[in-house]
Amino acid sequence: MTGARIPAVVAADIRKSYGELKAVDGVSFTVAEGEFFGILGPNGAGKTTTLEIVEGLRKADTGQVTLLGENPWPRNPKLLPRIGVQLQASSFFEKLTAREQLQTFGSLYGVSRQRADEMLELVGLLDKADVQENKLSGGQRQRLSIACALVHDPDIVFLDEPTAALDPQARRNLWDVLRAIQARGKTIVYTTHYLDEAEILCDRVAIMDRGRILAMDAPATLVRGLDAPTHVVLQKGLLTREAARGITGVEDAQEDEVSLTISTRKPAPVLSALAERGTLDGLQVRTATLEDVFLDLTGREYRA
């Protein structure tokens, strides 16, 4: 024992090809115990494939995965009770109600039946306990699927796009659920298309595209490292483009049908100058986000 805690996940140069297509092309990352780790990227980036290799559902062509110090492939029964997985496509038993789904999945892990109702409450589905899975809405099914992944209180939770198809309210509720799990010392690895969400939730994110990790760090560090300008958006007509360009610190000003967008790296003096001119009505400040990071890394707009 070195005294240092073993990382929850270590992936070292994993690769997976489907014929010519390199779905995962040399991905390495480490997730510390208790960390909230996000994998972001557009469709087909290789997020699901990466996650499934780490979970032990798929075999990597090459590369090493260590989960809680163990090799997840081939199927490692010692690890299974300690990991919870929500697959991207929801997986349910046929014709069972929400409660029965949870009881059945729970029993596979030796969990008591009462646990089902606690889980339903956690994801806000208690009133749907007796509804058959195929009669739930898309978002409700998604929440049930997450509950099924958490039913045995695993140490590491893998969630593949858990917030897809959720309404804003359910999404925020789920954020609370996930934060509470992390607060109990659990490790969470999840994928998402929502860069803003990852910025809020994740300790660290990996941005993936075409099977590779382009950048990996805390969201704030990634954004700061970008040195991207802040955008100040004004209602059109309050100020001309020329006048805006005249303000000290303004780098550029662009006008479209409804608004005037000013780019600056010194937002404080620019904002006070705008205040002097009395043009603060409806003003919006948009700082750089992970989307700008993505644009910067790939040269493409981010399309989720």
Binding site: S90, E94, L96
Partner: protein, 347 residues
Amino acid sequence: MTAFRSLSTAMIKGFLRDRMTLFFVFLFPLMFLVVFGLLFSDPGSDKTKIGTVGDGPVLSALEQTGALELEKYGDSATARQKVNDGDLPAVVVVDGDQVEVVFAASDQVAAGTVIGIVSGVVDKMNLTAAGVPPRFTVEATSVEDASLKPIQYLTPGILSWAISISGVFGSALTMVSWRKKQVLRRIRLAPVSTTTVLTSRVLVSVGTAVAQGIVFVAVAMLPLFGLQLTGQWYLALPLLVLGTMAFFAIGMLVGAFCKTEEAASGAANLIIMPMAFLSGTFFPVENAPAWLQAVSNAFPLRHMNDGMLDVLVRGKGIEALLLPSAVLIAFTLTIGFIAARVFRWED
């Protein structure tokens, strides 16, 4: 609750909540049993009905043989017309000592029977009249033969067929739907052994088969159909279990190859229907050409049928289980082995 019990419960619930499956497992084969049972319930009198004209000792003797049903006509013209019309196979016209048999050329078998009986009676009466003691004597004794009343034959056959439906469909559809709905992958990630999953599914199939057995036999025993079980009918139970396993293995194989439930149903039907006909579910295979009988030996249903017939209605004992059991076990192992080799967790 253990994983084994809860998986079984989950599957039973899924099964009972699916009307289509319930229909194909219980009602559909039951419909065949009821329809065939009613169609064949009264095989009618076996006696050939003929017309008679006149009277005298010959006709009384004919009456006494009990082999023919006689219908009296006043004049021979009307009686002959009946034969011409095809309503009667033959007419016996007695005029004093003269006995005339008029028969329809179309039905040689019935005609032969009638002429044989009438000649027999007339010869015997001639001998008696001549006072000659008979030199040859015939003694006829009746024995219970192996041919069965239709309901006796139909029930074991249709029950075995129904079990083949529930076995093949049950395992194939569960496998395809669990693979399609990613339940298999999800189960793979849970600390539960493949054996647990498999045995719980087999147990549900066996339970279904037992339920089918009870329902079918109960219906067939209604007075309307009149099935009578013979002595060691409970020997059907081991056959029922072994048969279920063999069909379960076939279903696993079908499920391994089919991507959708529709494809699996189609493939299962394609296997079961010909197998049912060739295995003697609806009519005895003994009447089929020799090569067809040989082919039918390749089907587990054929052997299950044979065994079921023997123990349910033919009164045979445990020795009748040997061959069918051996074949069913060998079949289960072979097909099960292949199915395990081609098994896929995901598409």
